[in-house]
């Protein structure tokens, strides 16, 4: 049966590798980190993926990971992407970046670099990211601005650094950043594992938003600040990736195609691989992309909800993680019969932040991945 959809996958997120020098405890990558890189897509395979996606109408391309700079063929991929007509975004920790590399990537056709910070000063950035990289991030930020490449600074927020928003924005402003994203982390993968020590209190959020608004007012026109609140505090859920199978296509390092970065957590789904199928076939005809496309899959209360077209039932992964069934309403919605679970989780977060909590974070690295796997198998035995 031909299930051709009129939706165009405007965004291709190319997760080039799971390898990453940073060990963020909020990472949305799966806990089961493959220690080996031997299964990664080759340069030729990525080029084929980019061609197929472009043909489907993809225009925005994000190179991410892991840390995309780990790939030695990044420049070659940028050149190819540019010739195909993509607008190219590099989503990086900046580790591995140099002034020369910025020049090369810019000449190759890179449009935009997003550099993420884990803390607003040297000590905290090292503590929360597990790398001594703060000075390098600052130097690379300055270099990107100097070379006149579009720059976005991304400060990933959670209960252990929300009090640093003022320090971070002060730094961003003094460096001359035009675009800053303050994104509260989401609770998938490692982020879910560490949720208890990442989810902020309402008071922390209110403070951070107040500071953000003060900066917005003061530096209007010079610095745009985008604040992403953790959706556990909303009454209504967010759409999944602008709607499952409507806009986004993520290809992971081993070639699996996902409607969103977190979808791997949903059991019973089969993930088509670019090594076996054409992206066009995957986008239009795969069970995966059709599974939660539109509203036909919905159960109550979403099914008869007048707002169902607005949020499309919210996040499928969150529904699964918090209710045990991916076809339920996202329990962030106050109309969900499982909304109490979200209230129970947020109630536990209404405690003041204490520095000692940092020690409880489980950092994303192969050692911890192995440990978690061992603990899980003990539980199931």
């Amino acid at each position: 049966m031909d299930k051709t959809t009129s939706h165009i996958p405007m965004w291709l997120l190319a997760e080039l590798t799971f390898a990453c020098p940073v060990q963020c405890s909020y990472c949305s990558n799966p806990l089961e980190l493959s220690a080996s890189r031997k299964n990664e897509l080759s340069t030729e395979e990525w080029i084929r993926v980019m061609r197929q996606a472009r043909k489907l109408g993809a225009v925005q391309l994000g190179f991410s990971g892991g840390e995309p700079l780990v790939r030695t063929d990044l420049e070659e991929l940028v050149v190819e992407a540019k010739s195909l007509g993509y607008y190219i975004n590099l989503i990086t920790s900046s580790i591995g970046l140099t002034a020369e590399k910025i020049t090369t990537l810019k000449e190759a056709g890179l449009g935009h670099i997003q550099i993420s910070f884990q803390g607003s000063n040297r000590e905290s950035n090292q503590l929360l990211g597990g790398t001594d990289s703060f000075d390098h991030k600052v130097a690379m930020t300055k270099e990107v601005i100097k070379q006149e490449l579009a720059l976005g600074l991304n400060f990933v927020l959670h209960r252990q650094n929300l009090h640093q928003v003022e320090e971070f924005l002060t730094m961003a402003q003094s460096l001359g950043a035009e675009f800053v994203e303050l994104a509260n982390c989401q609770y998938y993968g490692w982020g879910l594992h560490n949720r208890e020590h990442l989810l902020p209190s309402q008071e922390q959020l209110i403070d951070a938003e107040r500071v953000t608004n003060e900066f917005r007012e003061k530096y209007k026109g010079d610095m745009d600040i985008f604040f992403v609140a953790p959706d556990y505090y909303d009454d209504r859920p967010k759409k999944c990736s602008n709607g499952w199978g409507t806009t986004f296509m993520t290809v992971n390092p081993e070639g699996e195609v996902l409607p969103c970065q977190a979808a791997k957590v949903i059991p019973g789904l089969e993930f088509p691989n670019v090594r076996d199928n054409d992206l066009k076939d995957i986008w239009h005809n795969s069970d995966l992309f059709n599974r939660f496309r539109g509203t036909d899959w919905m159960t109550e209360p979403c099914k008869s909800c007048p707002e169902k077209e607005i949020d499309l039932g919210g996040c499928r992964c969150q529904a699964l993680m918090l209710t045990g069934d991916a076809t339920n309403a996202d329990p962030v919605c106050s109309l969900s019969p499982h909304h109490d679970e979200v209230l129970r989780i947020t109630a536990k977060a209404q405690r003041p932040y204490e520095e000692e909590e940092t020690q409880k974070l489980v950092f994303r690295n192969p050692g911890n991945s192995k440990k978690i796997r061992a603990e899980k198998s003990e539980l199931t035995e």
Binding site: I8, M10, L56, G57, V59, Q60, G62, G85, Y87, N89, G111, H112, Q114, A150, G152, F179
Partner: protein, 95 residues
């Protein structure tokens, strides 16, 4: 960067924006970090002519030649370019 005299200055498309035809959407677009603006036919005709340094008089002149039937063209171009200047889609070129 966005403050210049539209009537007298030379300007061009902001190099931070990528202007191109999109087959899948059957329109011209402006691409920028993580986003896209779909352009109307007339907006595309104007921006097409801003890919190299130009002036408002030159753009109006070229469009008058290409579309001799069009009425009130000069005003439409001025209005669009003023907006494009505001959005920093076009930037001044120093002589």
């Amino acid at each position: 960067m966005s403050e210049f005299n539209l009537e007298t200055a030379s300007f061009k498309l902001n190099p931070r924006y990528q202007y191109q035809w999109e087959e899948a959407q059957q329109c011209h677009v402006l691409l920028y970090p993580e986003g896209l603006i779909k352009l109307s036919g007339s907006a595309a005709e104007i921006l097409q002519r801003c890919q190299q340094p130009t002036t408002m008089a030159a753009v109006v002149g070229e469009l008058n030649t290409a579309f001799p039937e069009a009425e009130g063209l000069a005003n439409d171009v001025k209005e669009f370019l003023a907006d494009a200047q505001q959005q920093v889609w076009i930037v001044q070129v120093s002589d």
